[in-house]
Symmetry: C2
Subunit: 216 residues, 2 copies
DNA sequence: GCATTTTTCTATAAACCTATAGATTCTATA
DNA sequence: TATAGAATCTATAGGTTTATAGAAAAATGC
């Protein structure tokens, strides 16, 4: 285990490779379905040697999830704080979310599907990052409502969560189906979310009253 | 194992209980994280006795997934074949989808999250049912476009999949958070999907009475 | 109440899995 | 090139898991 203040670049590099290998294996087989031997094999080392990089299998899962979220959260924060129209912010946010799947696809999938197998204590940091993401996104929707760019009767919390659900769904599809183009998916998601799929009637007054219940 | 042509109601009943127990355990711990001992314990029998009902753990997973899909598919088919406005059909479809989560919640969750751990051969029937569901839903969207009730520039395939993704996301939330009301979630999902969240530019109709000359 | 069938139990084989300890090889630097 | 420390290997303890076989108990039909 590396303990000096100046971690060797060699260790850092190998450690990253180990996290990536764990991500790939966990994404394919699931946390419990994967063995430490599988991960070691992918790295070309022996099963026992893996414990030089991870204190435990569980710690490996936590690291994979954390690497998935870090960039993802800082992305949305910079998007939310930039000036600009809400509509374009949302499109950028969707594009960034899906792009994360392109670059860090396995780790994101692991985070979404396997994170709950971590004990609660180990999920604290993860939950914080997740909340930050959600809040920033929700903030964009609120801003849109205040400024009149978005319908005033939408439930920002619900809508933000829905967008996350939608992006995660399509992110997983992108991972499974390489012929899907992220730009197309982004375009389509934004279109549905912003405009809906109902035809515009001549009258524009058909906004439904909505039971604005607090969700979650 | 039950082999006679007239299966005892007793066996049938107990078998159903076994499938439900497997669904609950798989939903909580994941397929690989769950042991046959866990399932047997939930049923109040010994681990070995479980094999009277299931040929293997894998077969149990397949059965759970199948029970989840069966009702769900026949629901959408009857909805799609009924006459009526596309808008109301879609709302009914969303409500039915989420209701499945209410009644059969654990099995649905298992289908969505664990099904890929089945080997391909075992997924054939599952894939067929899934395709039927998707096709019916897509058909509703296509019908809406043809009849002019939905925008003609939406991608029906993409939109149908998005709706499935959205419903599955909220279905899982419903399972985790019992304070969520399915009717509210249905309402909100339908609203976003149909109307989007962008403000209608010309729609000032809340305040100004709308005259027929005021067209945009 | 007896015989038959259904259902459950017990015990176990064979495989696999995580994590650790100590030996060994590699790498970089003085 | 000698040496310290980093990185990996080997071997294994201790535990869990699936699935099976045969005995035992429970339910059913007559």
């Amino acid at each position: 285990m590396q303990t000096t203040d100046k971690p060797t670049t060699r260790y850092t590099h190998r450690h990253e490779r180990a996290v990536a290998a764990a991500a790939a294996i966990f994404a394919n087989k699931g946390y419990h379905g994967a063995s430490t031997r599988d991960i070691a094999e992918k790295l070309g080392i022996q099963q026992g040697s893996l414990y030089y990089y991870f204190k435990s299998k569980e710690a490996a899962l936590e690291e994979v999830c954390l690497t998935a979220l870090r960039g993802y959260v800082s992305d949305i924060e910079s998007i939310a704080h930039q000036p600009g129209e809400v509509e374009s912010k949302l499109k950028t946010a969707i594009a960034a979310h899906l792009a994360t799947y392109e670059h860090n696809n396995e780790a994101m999938k692991v985070h979404n599907e396997q994170r709950l197998y971590l004990p609660k204590e180990r999920r604290k940091q993860l939950n914080m990052l997740g909340s930050r993401y959600r809040q920033q996104l929700e903030g964009i929707f609120c801003e849109g409502v205040s400024s009149g760019q978005l319908r005033e009767d939408i439930d920002c919390h619900f809508t933000a969560l829905s967008l996350i659900g939608l992006c995660n769904y399509w992110g997983a599809q992108l991972l499974r189906n390489p012929t899907l183009r992220p730009e197309d998916v982004t375009e389509n998601c934004a279109d549905i979310l912003l405009h809906g799929c109902l035809a515009r009637k001549a009258a524009t007054s058909d906004i439904e009253p909505q039971t604005d219940t607090q969700v979650n």
